[in-house]
Amino acid sequence: MKKLILIVVAALFSIASYSQAKKPTIMVVPSDRMCISQGYSMKFDNQGSEVVLPDYKKAFQNDASLRLVITKMSGIMADRGFPLKDLEAEMKKMEQEAAEVSMMTSKMGSMIAESPIDALKRTAKADIIMELDYEVKQQGPKQYITFNLKGLDAYTSKVVASAAGTGAPSTAAPAELLLEEAVLSYMDEFNGRLMAHFEDMFANGREVRINVMVFDGWGSDLEAEYDFDGETDELNIFIEDWMAKNTVQGRFSLSDGTANMMRFEQVRTPLFYERNGSQRAMDTKKFVTDLKKFLSDEPFMIECKVYLKGLGEAWLIVGEK
């Protein structure tokens, strides 16, 4: 009996120790302000109003200090177990992929199927954006650096980590050395805050956004009434009940809702779920797929489509597939 208990405990321990949460990807992106103020920008005429956007490609091709700062940050993050996605390499890969998709044909002459949404989704993206902003300033004969680094959750738009400040003025040190010093100075503080964000995530679940929408061809809406579990109520109330039951400590907020949409923010999803006796990492797609299954069962019997926006955001479109 003792042996049996030991085996069960050991098995449970091994499951717990081998299950790992989905690792967020991190990418450094120069801020819009920095790109535009240094002339790395593109201008568009959007129905009469001029829109200025950062031109990252131009920035990487012309700004040696930007490359230096990103390389330094990448080294530090790789050392901490988070190799960064490189924006420049990612953009080159996207261009290459777009060219290959447009050229590739089968032996029968068929092209690769690609909807406008597929093409739109083919952009460089990461789960956490490290928005970098710095400027070399002059004070008489002295130079100093203002440095601002923000870690943005790409889905909740929340600043999950930050570090900013002004370096000590120097007459002798070149700007590159001051920049290197700034990175070394601020990265520990930034990573300390990032660590606090991850600790919160492990304790209270991953914070994600979920949108529930309706296909216009469905012929019904989220205010349609159903009988479920001995209660008669609107569909949106049952969806809210499901959220309360399946989120960590019932934590979510319905920030907006109409007959045709529900916008859930600060949804805390568990990091793991059990399947075939073992724990697996949960992502937003799996979480929303569970909601889809709930709606496809009796008494609702509604067809739904899951649209994934990334690790931290998914849409459930109700009514059709």
Binding site: Q20, A21, K22, K23, P24, D79, R80, G81, F82, Y144, A163, G165, T166, G167, A168, P169, E181, L184, S185, Y186, D188, E189, N191, G192, L194, M195, A196, F198, E199, F202, L271
Partner: protein, 174 residues
């Protein structure tokens, strides 16, 4: 009446002396508590260290100057682990958070740290003397207070504690 007044004055004087003695005892107790406190580190960041290191000035106490220097080195490493370093003035360096974010780490891993910080222990691996600031020595009543500039191999220390499972790695759980 005079006797009553005399008695009252004597009582007030005794009470005043008692309060002074009690206050002095409290001051002594506070000083002792601060001296023995594991949070009482006198540390200042000097500048940004080279890759993976922190350049700090740290103070230590001891009956002899060598003891005070040894205590300062130990304080430097302990501060890196449990308290972190403050920012340096004038934008010279940003603050550094502690390696162990868990405030109970010292108690939870008592045996490890007892061995780590024993005289000639492993903590010395992560301290290098620096010549950026001249050593300072202050002779106090019965002991010395010494201030030294040291370079802490912060990244190496963090990696060691992560390996031992004492500090949480940034990618732990992923």
């Amino acid at each position: 009446m005079r006797r009553v007044l005399k008695l009252a004055m004597t009582l007030i004087a005794i009470a005043a002396i008692n309060v002074t003695v009690l206050n002095a005892q409290t001051r002594n107790q506070v000083r002792k508590m601060e001296y023995n406190s594991s949070y009482n580190y006198e540390v200042a960041t000097i500048a940004v260290g080279v890759d993976g290191t922190k350049l700090i000035e740290v103070w230590g106490y001891g009956k002899k100057a060598e003891d005070a220097t040894r205590n300062a080195k130990m304080n430097a490493v302990a501060c890196a682990i449990f308290k972190g370093f403050p920012a340096a003035g004038g934008g010279k360096a940003a603050k550094t958070p502690p390696i162990c974010s868990n405030s109970n780490a010292a108690d939870e891993h008592y045996d490890y740290f007892e061995k780590f910080f024993e005289p000639g222990g492993q903590y010395l691996l992560y301290v290098n003397m620096s010549s950026d600031v001249a050593p300072k020595r202050i002779k106090m009543d019965k002991h010395y207070k010494c201030g030294i500039a040291v370079s802490i191999a912060f990244d190496e220390l963090r990696k060691e504690l992560e390996k031992q499972g004492i500090a949480r790695a940034l990618d732990a759980g992923f």
